[in-house]
Symmetry: none
Subunit: 193 residues, 4 copies
């Protein structure tokens, strides 16, 4: 693999275009042109368009997982952690909407791209999911969150954040995203408690 900088530039380009136009409406040629390289060049870095989409997901997932890991390792109540996470998440959405939109739009809606041979593409996000699980578990242990089904708790966090992200991307929100931090944290904590 030639060059790490270009590798990342390709991912960034793909991320931006996939999230904007969708995976199937973005061509390799566009991704290449977008960063001033030739289409064939991309194949020195990624063996296929699908693999590029996967690399992009891994890229975003790692960032999200890392952010949450840092928060998980802090000394703070679980409610505070939720707030911190919502905060860092919304900031991230503001700064890199294309990454989050990619995560929610392309990833969730194009299973056929990410899964292979019975293996759910879901596993690509495992790192992030593990951190969410830890966040929930810790809260249950400390008594701040009620014990209950993991998937419902997971849905309460990720679903609410995902939905508000979607609305933001659709430009239906009148204000800046960070305005909603406290209110969203509140709703999530209540849903979990």
């Amino acid at each position: 693999m030639p060059n790490k900088e270009k590798h990342n530039a390709i991912i960034a380009s793909a991320l931006a275009l996939f999230s904007k136009y969708g995976f199937h409406n973005t061509t390799i040629a566009q991704i290449a042109k977008n960063i001033g390289i030739s289409a064939g060049s991309i194949y020195s870095y990624f063996p296929s368009k699908n693999s590029l989409a996967k690399a992009a997901i891994t890229f975003v997932t790692r960032i999200l997982a890392k952010q949450l890991r840092v928060i998980n390792e802090k000394e703070a109540s679980s409610q505070e952690k939720i707030t911190l996470f919502v905060q860092s998440y919304l900031t991230f959405v503001s700064k890199h909407p294309e990454m989050i939109e990619y995560f929610f739009k392309v990833y969730l809606t194009n299973k056929e791209i990410f899964s292979e041979e019975g293996k759910s593409g879901f596993e690509l996000a495992q790192d992030f999911i593990n951190e969410v699980e830890k966040l929930i578990d810790d809260g249950v242990k400390s008594g701040e969150f009620r014990a209950g089904n993991f998937y419902i708790a997971f849905s309460s966090i990720v679903g609410i954040l995902g939905a508000i992200t979607f609305l933001s991307g659709e430009k239906v929100l009148d204000k800046n995203l960070d305005i909603y931090t406290q209110d969203l944290s509140n709703s999530i904590c209540r849903a979990l408690s």
Copy 2:
């Protein structure tokens, strides 16, 4: 097969295949073959593949909106209405997973499919959104839900249900969906109150 019947059969076929394989991985020929008609004849009913996708989403949206309208018109507390809605929704997911998966998939990726037409896929769901708004408003008026930003409340309902639907589609849930009715209603009501 009368006109209207074939029209609906085409939508049902499209719905099933789009949700299973994705819009771009489903061909008009497959949709046609699936119900034993010719590819060309689909164009007697829908002017394009995109228009078929739109008709399908309208079809599903109307069903969801109608279900919620019936519940909204009942004499019941808002909490009970939430439970009723979750219940009817989960039943619907169990019976017609393809419709709900398509519903979420299309909305998440509407840009990909509908972007060129000016009208966002989001707008197509206005009926349904209006009913959700009414559900929330009524709860706020009755004092059961806290007053607050509509979009956050909307996200709390639709986001949580969407997330659990996604997990169900990914086959990561160990049990039947309806098991989660009470727990989910609980989480949603807490998030709103």
Copy 3:
């Protein structure tokens, strides 16, 4: 499969171009243009370029096998049968050089096209090979040919005819092919006896 006539026209076009320019130097577009249809059209008849090459081999092989079968079924000495076969073969080469050249050039030299999953592409010619075997066996039984290894006898017939065909295709022969009938039959019979 739409239409038998066009199916055969495609095979004929492929045969002519493959034998003239080689498999890899012939494009689907050329094959199509050659008979005035669109490139995509070919894929209604053959799922891939490789499959078209295979169909062409089967086509030629069947003709060769049929010719030899007719001769094998005649009442004649084996030597006479050899002569008849050489005669009919040379006539065929004169009339349809592209078919025979295809057989010897494309088929023999592009194994990767015709074989699949351990299965030797050789089997595509089985019909013809069987007839050659019968021709030899009958001669051995009648005492005209010496008993011996089948593959050597096979090589004596097919190798000699193949080589003269090749030379003919290379335009190094000064005279018409049929001039050589008696001489070739002679050589083959001696090689076998």
Copy 4:
């Protein structure tokens, strides 16, 4: 690695890969990697892939011509020479099947590879052909072979050997090639006499 040595290593690598996968299914990169050099550096030795193919065929042809020349210069009957040639040829096929397979493959498909250059692949083999001609002429002069058309005699030798080589390459022969030496020589001599 000195100049000449690398030159030959490239030819050997090309020979092995061309014969195994075919000219068009072998990439310059593979040829290079196979001997641990870079793709670009092949162009320091050969101006194009085609020229490399030509150099390879010349290389093999010279070996074959030389072997036959040595035999031609011996004091022996023509029949003995045929046997010697068959023997040395089969040994060569056993030791370097890739060279012989390439030899036949290239000549059969020379149009595909060399056509644009005006000079047919056939001409490249002139050295070898001359030696075959001498072998035949000597036999005719000594009365061992019957006088007749050169091309038929040539086909009898090269066609039979080519066919058995092909069968060997197809792995349809049950035994080692050298087993067939006497039998093959026999057939060839009879065909010529």
